[in-house]
């Protein structure tokens, strides 16, 4: 009785690991890089209490992202998750930050200089497409849901078992 359930969970676990593995190793230059190097995308970002404008920018995997960041009010910071970039952003003065978007998915950057009460929630996003990370996760969700349903259906196809697994009833 437990076996179909266990194999279902195992399948899900394997699927998740495969997905995560793909994520981990999807770095590096993708096929189709234009000859002569990496394409560069430049954006001007305005930082203010407590958001960056534009809040989300979209780039393609492999492109070099150049952010020209300027503060509209007080001193802010910009820390890019996973890239070890941490710069101060001054009012009236542009700071240039550059990195290569080598993985698909969402790169978050956050303020790194206390700038007021909502400072910990001052977050901006760079969405690197095609967003295989999201599609993979959504596919896994559908798989998990459908798989669980099928396993649950199969479990009671033979016996007319009334009890939910594990629910032996307490004393």
């Amino acid at each position: 009785m437990r076996h179909p359930w266990r194999s279902g969970m195992l399948l899900l676990l394997v699927g998740t690991l495969v997905f995560l593995g793909i994520l981990l190793f999807s770095g590096g230059s993708p096929a189709g890089t234009p000859a002569g190097g990496v394409r560069t995308r430049e954006f001007t970002i305005h930082a203010r209490q407590f958001a960056y404008t534009p809040p989300r920018i979209r780039v393609r995997q492999g492109e070099r992202v150049v952010l020209r960041v300027i503060s509209d009010d007080v001193v802010h910071g910009l820390y890019v998750d996973g890239y070890g970039i941490n710069s101060k952003i001054f009012p009236g003065r542009e700071t240039v930050i550059s990195f290569v978007a080598d993985r698909p998915g969402k790169i978050r950057y956050r303020c790194s200089v206390i700038c007021g009460n909502l400072h910990p929630f001052m977050i901006g996003e760079v969405v690197v497409g095609p967003n295989y990370t999201l599609w993979g996760a959504l596919a896994l969700t559908a798989l998990a849901a459908a798989g669980t349903v099928v396993v649950l259906w199969r479990r009671e196809s033979s016996a007319g078992d009334q009890n939910e697994e594990g629910d032996d009833g307490t004393a």
Binding site: T16, A51, K106, R108, H119, T141, V149, L152, E164, D168
Partner: protein, 485 residues
């Protein structure tokens, strides 16, 4: 049935191990000794009372900079992380065991810190019958959750709210009986109760026959001269109005205070381990107020993921109460989502599930309430995933704040200079995706169990599961889009 002697044996012989996951923890002599000590709960509460005092002081007197204030960091990051990642999923309402908020009131009510006394003092009024539910706590939580952008970032607001809760708790203890505050008023208790149904520990009676023949019911009434002559070490009747001997079948209202274990003259109450999420399939006790708590929690997790974790400044300004119109708009959006939209979506899918099952005679309301319990694993997973997203980047503040809790320039332990260090924030998706998927799978599994309990025919339950799973998968997808997309 075999004949038994008229005198009930004590202590009750414990049955052998039932299943690998079910272990009677009180078979271990040191643990059995420990839970019978009256000073146990006091010893757990005292350090938290001290920390709580520091929180109130730093909240009111310390720096207004949240990230440099002990109150903000140690309540909304450290305590919260401990609560949602460890204490609740693994220890049920174990926080309630050591919570300092009702402590002072309870000591005043009992006129004792540790000892058992036959009488409690205070007015001992009964809580009004119409309020003996979670509605006050639900609205309390919703109101507090509405202010969370300001509450979790401004020390003085944290100080005020926590002090307010203590004062209400003290007043409640002096006027009403037992832990009326914890059961019917505490905003945290509402969700702790709901999610504690997932935990792998429980306090339950051992032998049903012993309880049936017991004349004292000390687990509910408290010890008495007569019960002490038979056994037990003197315990108050369950402070949270539960009746372990009845039996108590869910963790929802058990504070793990061990009073019942101390009071029972037959040592017939024990602490056991068990598989996760067992209580969700217990039919007794399911009510609309608990169901609503489920929507409020899930809705709040989604809203916070949008407002706090998202990049959109306008709604953050509204949440920050920076203008009257913004505040009103945010209140409408936030409260509307968790109190109206979430239940409405749930109702729609409940109705669809019943339609597909072809069971028009079934009560939608009962199915609506029952299905709410299927949201618990996913809701807990959503909260865990969301919590990681602000804990990992910000918990490093705890190191410097420990040396300078008030932000006055102290350096108690030499760690004041520890810089803000986000811990592997780019690894967040690797944590969030598995957690959410696990929550989804378990929610569907529980949902099926709930469907089987409601629909008489197997085929109906199978069909009913489809819309339910689609709904749960949809909610999961929403989280994933917010976190990854």
């Amino acid at each position: 049935m075999a004949q038994r002697s008229t005198v009930l044996e004590r202590p009750v012989p414990r049955p052998a191990l039932e299943a690998p996951w079910r272990l009677d923890l009180l078979r271990f002599r040191p643990l059995r000794w420990l839970v019978r000590q009256r000073w146990l709960q006091f010893a757990l509460i005292l350090p938290n009372l001290f920390i709580f005092t520091v929180v109130i002081l730093t909240g009111f007197l310390g720096t207004p900079i949240g990230a440099k204030n002990f109150a903000i960091i140690f309540v909304w990051i450290v305590w919260w992380a401990l609560l949602i990642l460890v204490l609740v999923p693994f220890g049920a309402r174990s926080w309630c065991t050591m919570c300092p908020i009702p402590a002072v009131g309870e000591w005043l009510q009992r006129r004792a810190f540790i000892l058992w006394r036959p009488r409690t003092f205070g007015l001992n009024r009964k809580w009004p019958k119409g309020l003996r539910n979670l509605w006050v706590a639900n609205f309390g939580f919703a109101s507090i959750a509405l202010t969370s952008a300001v509450l979790t970032t401004r020390p003085i607001v944290t100080g005020t709210v926590l002090l307010g809760l203590v004062l209400i708790a003290v007043a409640t203890h002096l006027v009403f009986e037992r832990r009326t505050f914890c059961r019917y008023l505490c905003p945290v208790g509402g969700f702790l109760g709901l999610y504690s149904m997932a935990a792998p520990v429980e306090v339950r009676r051992v032998d049903a026959e012993v309880c049936r023949r017991c004349q004292f019911k000390a687990c509910f009434r408290g010890s008495s001269e007569a019960s002490l002559q038979v056994g037990g070490v003197g315990g108050y009747g369950c402070p949270n109005f539960e009746f372990p001997g009845a039996p108590m079948e869910r963790n929802t209202y058990c504070l793990l205070c061990t009073e019942c274990i101390k009071a029972c003259p037959y040592e017939n109450i024990t602490i056991r381990t068990r598989p996760f999420f067992q209580d969700l399939l217990v039919e007794k006790g399911r009510k609309l107020d608990e169901a609503y708590k489920s929507f409020i929690m899930l809705g709040a997790a989604v809203m916070y993921s949008i407002v706090m974790l998202g990049p959109w400044g306008r709604i953050k300004d509204w949440a920050n109460f920076s203008s009257p119109t913004g505040t009103l708009l945010y209140a409408l959006i936030f409260l509307g989502s968790i109190l109206l939209a979430a239940p409405a979506i749930h109702l729609a899918f409940t109705w669809l599930s019943r339609l597909l099952a072809g069971a028009q005679g079934l009560s939608v309301k009962k199915l609506f309430v029952d299905y709410a319990y299927a949201l618990v694993p996913l809701g807990l997973a959503g909260w865990i995933a969301f919590s990681f997203s602000f804990v990992l980047p910000n918990i490093s503040y705890a190191v410097s704040v420990l040396s300078d809790p008030f932000g006055w320039g102290w350096d108690l332990f030499g760690t004041k200079g520890y810089p803000w260090t986000p811990y592997a924030p780019h690894l967040l998706p690797y944590i969030q995706v598995p957690v959410l998927l696990l929550g989804l799978t378990l929610s569907i599994r529980i949902g099926y169990g709930l469907a089987r309990q409601n629909f008489p025919a197997l085929q109906q339950a199978r069909r009913a599961l489809v819309p339910l799973s689609a709904y749960l998968a949809g909610v999961t997808a929403l989280f994933l889009v917010l976190y990854l997309g």
